[in-house]
Symmetry: C2
Subunit: 491 residues, 2 copies
């Protein structure tokens, strides 16, 4: 075997073991018996030790040195790029620091959940300080003297810096605020959903929706869980959903969102199965798929017209007075504290708040001690009303407790990328609305599979989007789409 083949065999096994770890995570959230937690923690820790040792295996360096890269094709180059990236990151972080981070974030998640339940940021502060300090230490090890926040961000969105993101956000904010203020102040507010929507029928329709968007149930499954997520890659990509009998849209749109993530993983070229490039290109690109499925396609006038008929047929009653009113209902803008419940416009404002705060935390310009006060002040300035309790404010998201600093902006990047992709998709598919109106969302998502999903991590995130759209990434398409859509709805 050549050095390249040996390295790839090693990498495939590592990737396969990573899939196993992911499957344990799925099991834990869906089917694991309540009392199995302590044992599962030991099983996960044993598997993580194996994965950690493999990521730091000295043979990786030997193989990389021995490989003649001139003889590789594009995919081979990309494999080497991803393996080198992961190896370099792993080599820079001392083993003791990685172990300490794993230990502290594992404990911090439980403390966050308790603190949130009690609306008590003070109780969360000490462990969050530990997490921030450890992540800053890790960032220093990774940054080679460069910016600390950029070093963390690079793990989720390779090639993008904090100042790149700042520029994108600066260009978006004024137009989003204008749009939000106009919509919230408009006199013609959408109808509100009323009544009770049977869980079983929700779950049946959500399975139908998943298929409608091209989700392959021969290589996946749908289960109920507390939080919707997508898990796995390649031939086994599972999603979860949740239901509320008062709010069926929660079920429908979180299903479509997760189907976006899942289709991406399912549609990657099988030649890349269980290899470093056989995964989505970044968190931002991943989110672009879930967002375009959920919003640009799933909340379009054409598709919601079909969904309106489906709901009427399946539940025996209409969710709104007519299909136009239904379209306005599922796109309603309203006041609210919670990021995950926010509409397409305000969602990005929530992200900007978190991005600023976490960048200052990691940069050392903001202390955890002041975080709640700064959050609340900033929220009032951005949204125009006061946070009423910590669970509606600084404690609402799990991310920081598990050390995810640099992750939040990828959600907004996903929206920006989705805007670019939708712009290109509409140009290519002139009969899109007709197809969506017939419930044929696969027509659109096949375009995404062809242009983007099949390539996995063959290219870096930005190149992945630009290869698909044939144009540079800018915020313009997203802003134009939002303005056109919401001006149509509200004015």
């Amino acid at each position: 075997m050549s050095a390249f083949d040996e390295l790839m065999e090693f990498a495939r096994d590592t990737q396969a073991l990573g899939e196993v770890a992911g499957r344990l995570g799925w099991d834990q959230e869906t089917v694991m018996p309540d009392g199995a937690g302590p044992q599962r923690a030991e099983e996960m820790a044993a598997l993580e030790k194996v994965l950690h040792a493999r990521r730091n295996d000295p043979r990786i360096g030997d193989w990389l040195e021995a490989i003649d890269e001139a003889g590789l094709d594009d995919a081979g180059h990309a494999q080497i790029r991803e393996i080198r990236r992961a190896r370099d990151r792993a080599a820079k972080v001392p083993v003791a620091l990685a172990a300490e981070l794993a230990r502290v974030t594992s404990a911090a998640q439980g403390k966050w959940a308790e603190a949130r339940a009690g609306d008590d940021f003070e109780a969360f502060k000490p462990v969050l300080e530990e997490v921030v300090n450890l992540r800053r230490e890790e960032a220093s090890a990774l940054a080679d003297g460069g910016d600390l926040y950029d070093a963390l961000l690079d793990d989720y969105e390779p090639g993008l810096s904090g100042s790149d993101i700042q520029s994108l956000f600066d260009a978006m904010r004024p137009r989003l605020v204008t749009l939000r203020d106009k919509a919230l102040g408009a006199s013609n507010q959408p109808e509100t959903l009323v009544g009770n929507w049977a869980e079983k029928k929700q779950l049946k329709l959500s399975t139908k929706l998943a298929k409608t968007f091209g989700y392959d149930l021969a290589h996946g499954r749908i289960d109920k869980a507390v939080h919707p997520f997508s898990s796995g890659s390649g031939l086994d990509v599972r999603i979860t959903t949740r239901t509320s009998e008062e709010d069926p849209f929660n079920c429908f749109y979180s299903t479509i969102h997760e189907v976006g993530h899942a289709c991406y993983e399912q549609n990657i070229d099988n030649a890349y199965l269980l290899t470093p490039i056989g995964r989505g290109a970044s968190m931002g690109v991943h989110e672009s798929q879930s967002r375009i499925y959920e919003n640009q396609l799933g909340r379009s006038r054409a598709f919601t017209g079909w969904l309106f008929d489906q709901m009427e047929a399946r539940f025996g009653k209409t969710p709104a007075s007519d299909a136009d009113a239904f379209y306005r209902m599922v796109n309603r803008l309203q006041k609210g504290f919670i990021r995950t419940e926010a509409d397409e416009v305000q969602y990005n404002l929530h992200i900007m708040l978190r991005f600023d705060l976490e960048r200052r935390l990691i940069g050392g310009q903001l202390d955890v001690a002041d975080l709640e006060a700064v959050w609340n002040e900033r929220f009032a300035a951005d949204f125009g009303y006061e946070v009423d309790k910590a669970s509606n404010g600084v404690l609402q998201d799990v991310h920081w407790s598990v050390g995810l600093f640099g992750y939040f902006p990828t959600y907004a990047l996903g929206n920006i990328y989705a805007g670019c992709l939708y712009d290109a998709l509409r140009k290519d598919l002139s009969d899109l609305d007709m197809r969506l109106g017939q419930g044929d969302a696969t027509y659109a998502t096949t375009w995404l599979a062809d242009k983007l999903q099949q390539h996995g991590t063959l290219r870096n995130p930005r190149q992945t989007i630009e290869h698909a759209t044939g144009a540079a990434v800018t915020v313009e398409p997203l802003l134009r789409y939002l303005e056109q859509k919401f001006e149509g709805i509200y004015f």
Copy 2:
């Protein structure tokens, strides 16, 4: 850390990774999407590579040498005994042979399934020859000049030889044959179950049965699968069951059987969690638990009286004319080709046939080429009628295709052990029948948990039984129990 602590930490991680592999097996049989098989095979292979490397890790020998065994307690000694046993076995088998066995048995299982579907032993012969040759080679490596079959048997039932088993079987056969012939020739045959029994109600009652026998659903779950099995140990022990609307006893008694296996694993002392002695002591001891739950307790007159009432209440009709007739029905002896469908008496005769044949195959006195003819001849001699097709004969069991030679006798050993345990249990619990008649099977199984299950592999298999019963293992209690029971039913 002392050498002992280091070795135990290593062993715990290995055990935890073994649990993960088991969980993947459960996933594959219950919830895995149909199309995920090829990827799962790669994931399992990657995990097996890790486990194989750990079993052969040279540090185990260093730790074992460095440990001062005089300072250990009983559990510590038992841990060392089990670790040394596993290490010695792993060290004796060349890596290339182990890999070849894994490859060939994986392929052979598929070929067996095809051959069975086509009733075509000829199609299975070539791969079975390969399997037998490889296992003989492995046995030679393990046997150190001793008996080949004993070397394989030792993996499933440490400390027992083929001639030990032969003596036990010789003592059983005549009395079992006499009992069988009298029962099959009796004029007062039990009633036959008729009608259709709704699957949902079967599953609900089987969950009730599981709880009745003490299965802890906070550390387990019940799912449907093609074959019933129990999987996992410690805090996460899952079982499966299956249903047939014509034959609810299939569901009920396979559930009780698997609950026996599962309770054993659930009830092991938590101090042994994820350690080498934190598992059942052997296949035979494991089977003694499933068998005593299923047969001595589950098919007793007292318990079936309660079950009769449960069925009447839940299905709205009685399965037999009265509770006595019901008891005779679930204990019916009848002609049949299939081991897994056999009654308590004839089951052991099926095992004896397999034991003789596989012992001669491994010993080199029987060729695979002659196996079908010898099976059929032997079956006619033992049972008095001719095998009609290979799927009812030599192809009925999966075991040999996956290389399980030396495993079959542990099923009959389980029956013998169960006989011993039941004898002791009845002496200790004078009001057993009253409790069973109230559906309180936990009353009996708590005795088993206390006397046997909690100890895991603290002792070797025979000592495990003898510690629980306070008497030597013999076939007498089982034979007396069977004779008393079936003479009561038939004469």
